[in-house]
């Protein structure tokens, strides 16, 4: 196998880079360790060395296009490896005696079948397989192809694990638990614990979980008084964190990534500070607890609304563009209201957490003291919590500020949030 030359990740935040210059020409000899190309990222320029000795082939041209990290940008062929140009799928005739290095133009022979289907990433795969792998977040190079010459076909790309894990038949069933939770995705790896915001529920995370198929298992929790969880007596922030910590202990989850939105962000930060749960990373979205202001009209309107018509303008405050409100969002927010005691529990919680419609809790100091990687995502048009709360934090907190996005970046900028989540997970390993 020729050695792949890939676009390397040279810093943590880098997802793509530009090749600004090749030091070795296509078809020329290169020695391992010699200068190969100049890489430019949004932050820095860097010289990249050859990973092997041989003849450089199939180099991507120098353009202004950004190339994603991990993409193959060329190959280095050893002395015994025969180069087959793949781009135009023009077959190269191999004479039996001396395998040609194909220094001249490829010979054209319409009758001969194409010898190599290697394209793009250096993996032989059908367009269908490539699309499915892309959508499912699967690395094609890890798959075995069942097609001709090992070509990966659509059927070779594994389906993602089912999103819904049935409630275990042993032990207490979900309904009887004080804190309802669901594994939105099961599987091996470090789980992410997801905590929703005020008035929401764990099902709201499903699109994000689907958008990041490679992000590993996900345990989503209904905060007390939300979704299918019952209210608790001490409904302050510490009480919420206690309840969630108890649920994690019951699930046997002692370590994982924490991802919280709004109120859930503040709860997640408290959890991250607790000794019994080893938080690997902390990702906060439009987090509460970073300042005192919060849109009172949203909380009051949310608690008062009885119909879809009255709820619609309230929920519209949460997004920069009301058109981006998912169609089933209003119905999903109305559904739990039919349960007895739901609104009362939520109202009591709001009275404790947001007296006089101010945030009565702060995580600002705690956040800076945490040692795991910390990221905060805010939308610049957040109408519920002012995005100015994202400023003045400890320098160790990475802040993503999305222009033109409101209080629900995980809805309004779904793919971006999914990417950041994946990035955080991968940065921890």
């Amino acid at each position: 196998m020729p050695t792949e030359v890939i676009l390397p990740r040279v810093d943590m935040d880098m997802t793509a880079g530009k090749i600004v210059r090749w030091y070795v020409d296509e078809g020329a000899e290169v020695k391992k360790g010699a200068l190969l190309f100049d890489l430019e990222t949004s932050k820095a320029a860097m010289e990249i060395e050859a990973p092997a000795s041989g003849v450089l082939r199939g180099v991507v041209p120098v353009t202004d296009e950004e190339i994603p990290v991990g993409q193959v940008v060329g190959w280095i062929y050893g002395p015994d490896e025969v180069y087959e140009p793949a781009v135009a799928a023009v077959p190269v005739k191999q004479s039996a005696g001396a395998p040609a290095k194909s220094t001249g133009g490829a010979q054209f022979d319409a009758q001969q079948t194409v010898q190599s289907v290697v394209v793009g990433t250096g993996v032989a795969a059908t367009p269908l397989a490539r699309r499915l792998a892309r959508e499912r977040g699967i690395d094609l190079s890890a798959l075995a192809g069942s097609g001709v010459r090992g070509r990966i076909q659509g059927g070779d790309v594994p389906r993602p694990a089912p999103l819904w894990k049935p409630a275990p038949q042993t032990g207490t069933v979900a309904e009887s638990r004080a804190v309802h939770r669901v594994w939105l995705r099961t599987g091996a790896g470090v789980p992410t614990v997801m905590l929703h915001g005020f008035g929401s529920e764990l099902d709201s995370w499903r699109p994000l979980v689907i958008a990041a198929p490679a992000a590993g298992p996900v345990l989503a929790v209904d905060l007390p008084a939300h979704g299918k969880s019952v209210p608790i007596s001490s409904s302050n922030l510490a009480g919420l964190a206690d309840a969630v910590a108890g649920a994690l202990a019951e699930e046997g989850v002692t370590s994982g990534h924490l991802l919280g939105h709004s109120l859930g962000g503040a709860v997640a930060t408290l959890l991250a500070a607790r000794a019994e749960f080893a938080a690997r990373s902390l990702l906060l979205i439009s987090s509460g607890g970073l300042g005192s202001e919060i849109k009172g009209a949203f909380i009051d309107g949310f608690l008062a609304a009885q119909t879809a018509e009255s709820l619609r303008p309230v929920l519209a405050m949460a997004v920069a563009d009301p058109e981006r409100l998912p169609r089933d969002f209003i119905a999903a927010s109305l559904r739990p209201r039919q349960r007895e005691g739901y609104l009362a529990g939520l109202t009591a919680l709001a009275a404790t957490l947001f007296p006089n419609r101010q945030q009565a809790f702060s995580i600002r100091d705690r956040l800076g003291a945490l040692s795991m990687p910390k990221r905060l995502i805010f939308g610049s048009e957040d109408g519920i919590i002012p995005p100015t709360h994202a400023s003045g934090l400890a320098g160790s907190v990475g802040v993503h500020l999305f222009p033109g996005i409101g209080h629900l970046p995980q809805v309004e900028a779904l793919q971006d949030v999914a990417s950041i989540w994946l990035e955080v997970i991968r940065s921890v390993g």
Binding site: T126, P127, R130, R131, V148, R151, Q153
Partner: protein
């Protein structure tokens, strides 16, 4: 019957009868002449003789020599008269004895008929229909057996049709007569005796619309003219092995019905193009490229296969002639390879 899907275009949809492909064409010409006094027929030996393949038959006795006109043995001259007649308000239907002879009339078809509307700013159009007996299988050798539809499909301003059934042969011819622009209809010589349901009276089949002749989930087989029947026979054989091929009859080479093709490949994830014309730069090449450039690309799970005619003049020897164009067993093998990932 798949042909029933076209019934909505029928103005008078009387009970179908079994007609040959040649009879269906003759009936279409008769109906066109009855409906519109501007319609008339031109061609070599189409009068008393009834046409090289007896398609015009006895129409000269019904409509007279003014409307069923024998022309001298000059395709260029005849085509020139037809183009001029069309430009000045008539609706000629011009028959070539063999589509191969259209090479003699190329100037009139390509440089005149196809371009008049454009060059004269829409002031005139050329409502001309040409009928071209085409294809191999009759032992007529290299100069009388070609499938040249791709030549004309390459010319903007022309419409190029390839009916595969008696029903489509009649409906497409009547649609062509109505069309304001030159339409070339390639009729396969081996199909003239094929029979099929043909409704009485006037109906049209829309130009530029392909038809799914047989639905299937595993592979899309795109064919036209006689290859549709070979593909259907192949699909029947493949069904016995559990391979469900979707057979699409292009019917129209230009314009090409991209939507139907793209949607089909997105469903089946595989494409095999079958055409009698020479493989290189042929109709199947165009269909392949159309799919590769479309949204269907990301659905392809096997390389596209072109099964076309051999890159050689058609041989006189019947065995070699057969070997030079796709046969049922070739289609079966190509589809099998595509579906079982042996391509």
């Amino acid at each position: 019957m798949s042909t029933r899907t076209n019934m909505e275009t029928a103005v008078v949809a009387a009970a179908p009868r079994n007609l040959t492909y040649a009879q269906a064409i003759q009936e279409a010409m008769a109906i066109a002449m009855e409906r519109d006094p501007r319609v008339f027929l031109m061609g070599e030996d189409i009068g008393i003789y009834g046409g090289a393949f007896q398609v015009t038959g006895d129409l000269v006795h019904r409509f007279g020599e003014d409307r069923v006109m024998d022309t001298p043995i000059s395709e260029l001259g005849g085509a020139g008269v037809a183009v001029g007649a069309a430009m000045t308000g008539m609706r000629p239907i011009f028959e070539f004895q063999f589509s191969d002879f259209a090479a003699l009339a190329m100037e009139q078809i390509v440089n005149q008929a196809a371009k008049m509307r454009y060059m004269l700013g829409g002031a005139v159009s050329v409502p001309l229909v040409m009928r071209l007996p085409a294809g191999s299988g009759t032992g007529a050798a290299a100069q009388h057996s070609q499938s040249l539809e791709a030549w004309f499909g390459h010319v903007p301003g022309l419409k190029v049709l390839q009916p595969a059934t008696p029903y489509d042969a009649k409906g497409l011819l009547l649609a062509a007569v109505e069309d304001p622009d030159p339409v070339l209809i390639f009729e396969h010589k081996l199909l003239y005796k094929m029979t099929g349901d043909v409704p009485e009276g006037y109906y049209t089949v829309p130009i530029g619309r392909a038809e799914i002749k047989r639905p299937g989930r595993d592979v899309t087989v795109v064919a036209s003219s006689i290859m549709v029947h070979r593909a259907l026979e192949a699909a029947t054989q493949l069904a016995a092995e559990g391979i469900e091929a979707e057979v699409i009859d292009l019917r129209s080479i230009r314009p090409l019905d991209g939507r139907t093709l793209i949607d089909s490949v997105k469903r089946t994830t595989r494409l095999v193009c079958v055409y009698e014309g020479v493989k290189t730069l042929g109709v199947g090449a165009e269909v392949s490229a159309l799919i590769a450039e479309s949204e269907a690309f990301d659905y392809l799970d096997a390389p596209i296969v072109r099964l076309g005619g051999a890159d050689c003049p058609l041989p006189y020897n019947p065995q070699l002639e057969k070997a030079a164009v796709p046969q049922v067993e070739d289609i079966v093998a190509a589809v099998r390879a595509s579906v079982r990932a042996r391509v």
